[in-house]
Assembly symmetry: C2
Homo-oligomer: 166 residues x 2
């Protein structure tokens, strides 16, 4: 698809049509997860929240996103139990958006995206942000696919089957 829609008059950026079909009944957890958080603004908000950002204005500054769009995305992430809206820690007037346990657990997805991007989306020597251990500031290890008995697996060694491992 990616049919170009008529450009809204007040916006200079490109718009595309994206089909939305619910995948919540799907047997595949990849499909269910993408259905929930599979648009990139939401994942970038989660990335920023994992980086410690909590306030609307700070998300807005970091993402350079229209306020109404950010507002809709934050609302969605709260409804999905990824973020929690809380009174400001300093007693101020503004709400803070804090990751729930479910939201924090998306760190693995963000790290996987970051490591793939670091490997394939940069010119040699081009600086970019790197995921590090907050303590020693050293890059964390590359995520590895391993079997139940600890063997390192290549992408081709992984298959899917129906099960109730949840």
């Amino acid at each position: 698809m990616q049919l170009k829609a008529a450009r809204p008059p007040t916006e200079s950026k490109e718009y595309v049509y994206v089909k939305r079909k619910s995948l919540q009944g799907n047997a595949c957890p990849v499909a269910r997860t993408l259905d929930l958080i599979g648009d990139w603004w939401s994942l970038l908000i989660i990335r920023d929240a994992l980086d410690g950002i909590r306030r609307f204005n700070d998300f807005q500054k970091s993402l350079d996103i229209a306020k109404n769009m950010l507002s809709a995305r934050l609302k969605g992430l709260v409804e999905q139990g990824i973020l929690q809206a809380m009174p400001a820690a300093d007693g101020g007037a503004y709400k803070e958006y804090v990751l729930t346990e479910r939201g924090k657990a998306l760190q693995t997805v963000i790290v996987a995206l970051s490591q793939w991007g670091g490997e394939f989306m940069y010119a040699p020597g081009e600086p970019g942000s790197v995921m590090v251990d907050a303590k020693d500031r050293q890059p964390i290890r590359k995520l590895a696919l391993t079997s139940a008995d600890g063997r390192l697996l290549a992408p081709d060694d992984v298959a899917t089957r129906l099960g109730v491992e949840h």
Copy 2:
């Protein structure tokens, strides 16, 4: 956003506007990667390709996606060097879409999404697809965040900094 657009007359599914802004110059590899493959049809095609699907009709059957949309997505993934279009292995008339090394390396992202979904998107005992070692059919280990010296890290222990680790 998620402004509801007028429904195209031939389609019964919901359409939403999604803003597209290029993030290719961004310092963050999460942003660059999402910009490249951050729509869920593309990621579901990559999931199916990792599962061994190679032909247009088989992707179409698996994904229940409109042909013109699938066609555009496959073309995009080929242009991005994620898939390679090849003559059919059996000498037949149809092209096959095969993952490149760059594409195969997205297995880690798919596994991260699958494991998060398996943990948070299913009722207890509800069956779903599980990522397993192709050899022994046992679920693979949960991806773990580890420091350079091998310590297990919690989501909060991971930070980002600018670097040239690529």
